[in-house]
Amino acid sequence: MMFTSPLGLLALLAIPAIIAIHLFRRRFPPRPVAGLFLWQIARQTPEGGGKISKLPITASLILECLTALALALILAGARIRPAGISEHLVALLDDSASMSASSSAGNSQGESPRARAVRRVLAEIDRLGSNARVTLVLSGERPSVLLGPAARAIEARPALEKWKPEAPHHSFALGLRLARELAGRSGRLMALSDSPPELAGGGKATPEVEGVVWVAVGEPLNNVGITAAQRTISPQDGKGAVSLTLANFADSPAHRRLTLKAGDQELSARDIELAPGTSSVNLPLPTGLPAVRIALSEDALQRDNEVVLVEPRLQEVAIENHLPDGRGRQALSKALGVLSGVTAAAHGHLAFVPAAELDRPASPGVWRVGFGRGSSTLTAPGEPQDFIGPFVPEKRDPLMEGVTLSGVVWTGASPLAAGVHPLVSAGDRPLIVLLGPRPESGILFNLDLERTNLVRAPDWPILISNLVEMRRQSLPGPERWNYRVGEWVRVRLGRDPKGPLRFRCGEIERTLPAG
């Protein structure tokens, strides 16, 4: 018998208490009699007081003791463990996609590591007997429990039949940690992977795998896979292209046939030779095509032989340039001109304005970037100053990504009123600030564009590009257009949805939960 909460056995103390009560307490209803001597052979004297008499074994005593025993067993979480069965098997299954690899060329005769792992787990369960308890843990990107904890052995086979290892990444260390917690002190821990412990454990064989029965079910197979894929449209000439990163995991060069299909139409097919290791392939692709299926010829692992890429739709950022004619306006136009996905518009997403106009209410959906001396509400008393450094940038802000301000002479920086959020400062003088907690509130470049050398520095196009990309990232739509299996898809909505959102992928359509 097992006890999940042995402290509950303290309730057994109630049994001697009950017996003591029955011994000392007058529990029988009194009955006056005329001749007590007829009821007994040896007469008892009443003067003893507190004398322990023979314990009367009554139904009440038996029931009370049984009740106390049952309560103690319930509190202790007693579980009946039949004789000879003492094992709790916790099997950690490698859930990476490589467990599905199979090849008729190897020793396994087409049997995948997954099939061997299933067979090994079932054999272990058969050895432990039908009363054994089984817990199956999957080592995905985040470990999960496939069966259990401590499920019956008969439930293991259906659960294993449903198991399809397909995770692109997995963390065996996290899986081992979860499996150890579920196994406790009495469980038998078994890890099944297609890698040996030193590889599956990230090169650390000990102590992560101590006390673990490691079953390596893999075998070396030649495999070529697509490890990364990207479909792009060149902003300059508008031509499409597909960039593939291919990995040859064999020790010798491999020959594969690479096929591109759009629907049923084969766009191209070419034979490629891949050296051991990683190599890249770039393929031109006409624009305007629907989803393209790119496949390598068959090998041990089918799952990494194929990708489907949709054509990305670049988010256009409409720009309003209201800067006065001059050196600054020209520099801004020049920087915007080299950016892709940018269009000039009267009512755009991003407006470059003189700093004095930042006081006026902004149109909805327009981010305003002001240059120059701000209005009196933004500035504090004091004369503008020039700075050659040192500059203290807020590195975590995306606007400052890649910006060094090396060799920049920052001119015309006026003292600013309190309440702004500095992104770049020189001494105690803010140079680039957010007027509110978010960029939508306005961005002020406390800068005289006519005198500074920033517009000729490499940081200028970087700043303008960062501003445009920040605005582009905030536009409604998905962050990217192609994702890995299992990757989160983040979509920004232009406004709060009025009804439930629906997800559709091919024939699959689901209603997303609210919130």
């Binding site: 009194p30 006056p32 009699v33 007590l36 007829l38 007994q40 007469r43 008892q44």
Partner: protein
């Protein structure tokens, strides 16, 4: 605790019975019963030669005429028998209301029957001075059952020599039946023993766990009254009753067992059947 007595009912039943006295001549004061000695009754007993001082009225002059010998006619004496009614006034006699009522009825019946016998009756409840019983109703004030011990358990019971004795008790105290009956009958002319018990005292049933408390302070006992305990009790009670019966038979006494709750008329008939009472 004094038993409550329904006197009209008791007198109705007792009107048909009287105490059964022995056929053999008995002793006693002047009365209406033929005594064992010579007296002034009308029943001729024998002749004896005249001696000076004899009552000349008893000289049989006709016999003197025939034989010229003065002879005196002797007649049987008429006596009033002495009756000692012994009532157990220990607490056990009123252990329940039913037993108390039955005891009162039985005592009233015997008191009335004694009165019907034209006897010189006394009531003995304790080793002290007996109480003369002139009227049956006087028995009621004497039956104060609050004693911790029965008078029968005392070594000396103030019987009168040659008295007719009626002893009423439940006899539920440890005793040697032969010794007890011998002590009760010694020096007496006649003895009747009436044992009064409750039904549950003579034939207990299974009751489960009980704390038995002796009303006379002889102890307490937690006992599971199951089949085995009941069987043992019945065997012991049966031995006690059979011992009394056998001892009474050996001593020439009458023995009757009365179960409380029995109607008074049936009790009277049972006592008559046992020779304690006789119908008028």
């Amino acid at each position: 605790m004094k038993p409550r007595i329904d006197w009209p009912a008791a007198q109705t039943v007792a009107g048909a019975f009287r105490l059964a006295l022995p056929r053999a001549p008995i002793g006693g004061r002047l009365g209406e019963r033929l005594g064992s000695g010579t007296g002034s009754s009308l029943e001729f007993q024998e002749y004896r030669p005249y001696t000076p001082g004899d009552d000349l009225r008893h000289v049989d002059w006709a016999a003197y005429a025939r034989s010229e010998v003065l002879a005196v006619r002797l007649y049987r004496e008429e006596v009033a028998p002495r009756i000692d009614l012994v009532f157990d006034v220990s607490r056990s006699m009123t252990v329940t209301g039913e037993k108390s009522s039955a005891y009162g009825e039985l005592a009233a019946l015997l008191a009335c029957a004694s009165a019907s016998a034209e006897a010189n009756a006394r009531v003995i409840t304790c080793p002290g001075e007996p109480h003369p019983l002139f009227r049956p109703e006087e028995i009621e004030r004497l039956l104060d059952c609050d004693a911790k011990i029965s008078a029968l358990e005392e070594s000396r019971v103030p019987f009168r020599r040659g008295s007719l004795r009626v002893v009423v008790s439940d006899f539920l105290f440890p005793h040697d039946a032969d010794a007890l009956v011998g002590r009760l009958s010694r020096g007496g002319a006649w003895l009747s023993i009436v044992q009064l018990t409750l039904r549950e005292e003579s034939e207990p049933t299974v009751e489960g766990g009980r704390r038995l408390i002796d009303v006379e302070g002889r102890g307490e006992l937690d006992l599971l009254i199951d089949e085995k305990a009941v069987e043992d009790y019945r065997a012991r009670f049966s031995r006690l009753r059979r011992g009394l019966s056998v001892a009474a038979r050996r001593a020439g006494a009458n023995f009757a067992h009365v179960v409380a709750g029995t109607p008074m008329r049936q009790v009277a008939r049972a006592l008559a059947a046992a020779g304690v009472l006789e119908p008028l």
